[in-house]
């Protein structure tokens, strides 16, 4: 199993001086059926004020990565290996009290389902002011004023009255706004948004995405945006990391990944997605099969059982050898650079319209 432990090349920058830096991260869960390799050797970097979009299907390890950055995984059944550096501070081996000082303060998270993420027992105002009081030592009165200020900022009408409402009295879009207010209350420098708009309607999604973008400009936070929607990352992100079966398969700027994708899985994602301006008579180009089980991922390249281009690679490298993700703008694939370009231009691009 030497191929599995082979590390991925580091991203473009030298890494040590970037704000968030993840190196060779392995997250394995012990379950009754065996070890689930949820994240399997992942590296990425994120600068202040930048947005990284992590794209992948369910079970690709994108959420687990971010739960382990925040230290929210179940420590009994999880083994984490590798390095997570936030502003030079190592998080993998940090103690619980150190993590508590960082969570909600320097780094915060926005969850997908605001109804389950907010406690039904406490008022929205109290939930927003709690991290603020804990981290700044503010009085009840100051914290309440701060909660009202944040609610106004995220666009809750009549914030002075609504601060005493319970989450069930808010609509879905308002709850998501309240959660954004809660995550930003201590001016965190890292914000992790895990599918923040998936449960929302399009018109509300558009409001929330714009709001996040505007607030990022104001607070200067770095954002990790986890999503399966390529339209959302195209709107929000500066860089994209495409994940498949716990590994990064492609990395690059938004333009590079969406305009000149190099990995067959990224081609598949783009081809699966109907567009508002596409040709309606062309059938979609789905990826055959379904995502693999992480209990027993395929050997070599995890995507090879679903890949249409394995015959272009000499020998059976796809099935035996795990492709490495090289440094910088790159894709983890055995196809040569010329082959990738040729396939993309000849067969994929014309059908994307």
């Amino acid at each position: 199993m030497t191929t599995l432990t082979k590390t991925e090349g580091s991203p473009a920058t030298t890494g040590s001086d970037s704000f968030l830096s993840v190196r060779d991260l392995f997250v394995h869960f012990t379950t009754e059926d065996g070890i689930v390799k949820a994240v399997d050797g992942l590296s990425f970097d994120l600068e202040r004020g930048q947005t990284l979009g992590i794209v992948g299907e369910s079970g690709s390890g994108k959420s687990v990565t971010n739960l382990s950055i925040l230290g929210l995984h179940n420590k009994k059944s999880t083994s984490i290996d590798g390095e997570i550096l936030l502003d030079g501070k190592e998080l993998v081996n940090a103690t619980e009290s150190e993590m508590e000082r960082l969570r909600g303060n320097k780094m915060a998270m926005i969850f997908q389902d605001s109804l389950t993420a907010l406690s039904p027992y406490y008022t929205v105002g109290r939930q927003i002011s709690e991290p603020f009081r804990k981290h700044t030592g503010a009085s009840k009165k100051e914290a309440r004023d701060r909660a009202i200020e944040m609610l106004t900022k995220v666009g809750i009408p009549h914030a002075k009255q609504r601060v005493d409402d319970y989450p069930h009295q808010f609509s879905g879009g308002m709850r998501q706004r309240a959660m954004i207010a809660m995550s930003l209350v201590c001016n965190p420098s890292l914000l992790i948004a895990d599918e923040p708009t998936t449960a929302l309607d399009v018109t509300v999604q558009a409001q929330i995405l714009d709001l996040l973008k505007d607030l990022q400009q104001e607070f200067g936070s770095a954002i990790v945006m986890i999503t399966h929607d390529l339209g959302v990352v195209a709107n929000m992100a500066d860089d994209i990391l495409v994940m498949y079966a716990g590994r990064a398969v492609e990395r690059g700027s938004v333009r590079e990944v969406l305009k000149a994708p190099q990995h067959p899985y990224t081609w598949g994602l783009l081809g699966s997605m109907p567009r508002l301006s596409g040709d309606v008579d062309e059938p979609l180009l789905p990826i055959p099969g379904s995502p693999p089980s992480l209990l027993n991922p395929p050997t070599g390249c995890a995507f090879h059982p679903r890949c249409a281009f394995t015959d272009k690679v000499p020998g059976d490298a796809c099935a035996t050898e795990r492709p490495v993700l090289p440094t910088g703008r790159a894709a983890a694939c055995h196809l040569s650079a010329e082959q990738k370009q040729q396939v993309y231009i000849e067969t994929i691009q014309p059908r994307l319209g």
Binding site: G155, P157, S171, V202, A206, L258, P274
Partner: protein
């Protein structure tokens, strides 16, 4: 690998010619004034009806044989309730549903029985819509059993044939639903729906629970089934791009009403209703080089269907709203300059284009933040020029 790609020949060989192609002049199903109000009970000790959720509040539309009609709208606009009314899973509160010229909205069980086999449904959640205690064979042959249909060659042979049509391995006849992935389960749902060769399928968000790559597989399958068998679809979804891909005609719903209905091309390139404009503007585009359209950002969420706004229901979030909108409900009519069959319910329709020259930001928080940024940027610039 348990899934196989559906070959067109497999479909063609097993299915008779598309039926009723000649009937396209008269609608297969026609809906007039359809309403569904769910009562709200309250009070103690005697429960009384204290109000009603007006989930569907007066719909008029036709579905023609062999076509696909898309129903789009945000959550709570009544699109799923409409689907359930069409299949009589809900009893309508008012209005008529005519199927091939016969009103079925008040038909009793016995009168409905022969019609039920012609109108089938595909559900959103492939986990909840298959009985976990039945094998795939039993699930798919269920409709044949209930309707006492014995296809030539026997039911089992027909089920295996259907499994092949939807791209599953016929040998999985004896497996249970839990042995399949989400996409495969949805294929089983499709096989069950087409088992009796229906004339109309109501598909309620058939792909929204699936991953992107699997979604495309199921959309392609449904499209093949529709074309090969000539089945009419009412395709309910919230994803505008998927609906555009699948449906020849599209109806946009808002708070229990249709606000605009048109052929695909008109609706997506020459919409007239402000809400349609807002919806299209809100869809995030994966093409970063696409011409930047000016944005429309509505304020807040959809109002409650318990007490919808008077007059035009969209007026509370509309940038063109005037006094007339609050007092007079706009009828769903043909507006001059539109194509035949393009109906819009608006007093002050927008220009028929998706281009617009200025942004519309109704959201006060967004407007405030953006103003502050602009002021800061300008301040910096003047500071620089002075320095």
């Amino acid at each position: 690998m348990t899934e196989k790609s559906t070959t067109p020949t497999a479909v063609a060989a097993t299915v008779p010619e598309p039926r009723d192609a000649a009937e396209s002049g008269t609608p297969l199903m026609s809906v007039r004034g359809l309403k569904k109000h769910f009562p709200i009970k309250g009070g103690f000790p005697i429960k009384r009806t204290v109000g009603a959720v007006k989930a569907v509040d007066g719909l008029d539309f036709d579905v023609f044989a062999g076509e696909s009609l898309g129903l789009v709208g945000e959550s709570g606009c009544g699109k799923s309730t409409t689907g359930r009314l069409l299949t009589r899973l809900h009893e309508p509160s008012a209005g008529t549903i005519s199927y091939r010229g016969k009103d079925i909205s008040k038909a009793n069980r016995r009168q409905m029985a022969p019609i039920r086999s012609e109108i089938q449904m595909i559900f959103q959640d492939p986990y909840a819509s298959l009985n976990p205690r039945q094998t795939v064979g039993k699930i798919i042959s269920g409709p044949m059993e209930i309707n006492d249909i014995d296809p030539p060659g026997g039911r089992e042979a027909r089920v295996r044939e259907l499994l092949e049509i939807v791209g599953l391995n016929p040998e999985h006849y004896n497996r249970f639903p839990h042995e399949f992935s989400g996409g495969q389960r949805q294929r089983i749902g499709v096989a069950r729906a087409v088992a009796l060769q229906p004339k109309l399928i109501i598909a309620d968000e058939p792909v929204s629970a699936l991953d992107v790559s699997i979604q495309a597989q199921v959309v392609n399958l449904l499209q093949e089934v529709q074309r090969e068998m000539g089945i009419a679809f009412v395709f309910i979804a919230h994803d505008l791009a998927v609906v555009r891909h699948f449906s020849q005609r599209v109806a946009v719903m808002y708070l229990g009403k249709i606000v605009e209905i048109a052929d695909r091309d008109s609706l997506y390139t020459r919409p007239r209703h402000p809400y349609t404009h807002a919806l299209l503007s809100a869809v995030p585009d994966a093409d970063i080089d696409a011409d930047k359209k000016e944005r429309i950002r509505l304020e807040g969420d959809v109002p409650s269907p318990i007490s919808p706004p008077s007059g035009c229901r969209f007026r509370t979030r509309c940038w063109k709203a005037q006094d007339k909108c609050a007092t007079e409900e706009p009828p769903l009519v043909h507006i001059e300059g539109n194509r035949q069959g393009h109906l819009t319910a608006c007093h002050f329709p927008e220009d028929p284009t998706v281009e617009r020259d200025k942004e519309i930001v109704m959201d006060p928080a967004l407007a405030a933040l953006e103003e502050a940024h602009q002021a800061a940027a300008e301040g910096q610039e003047t500071g620089k020029s002075q320095g």
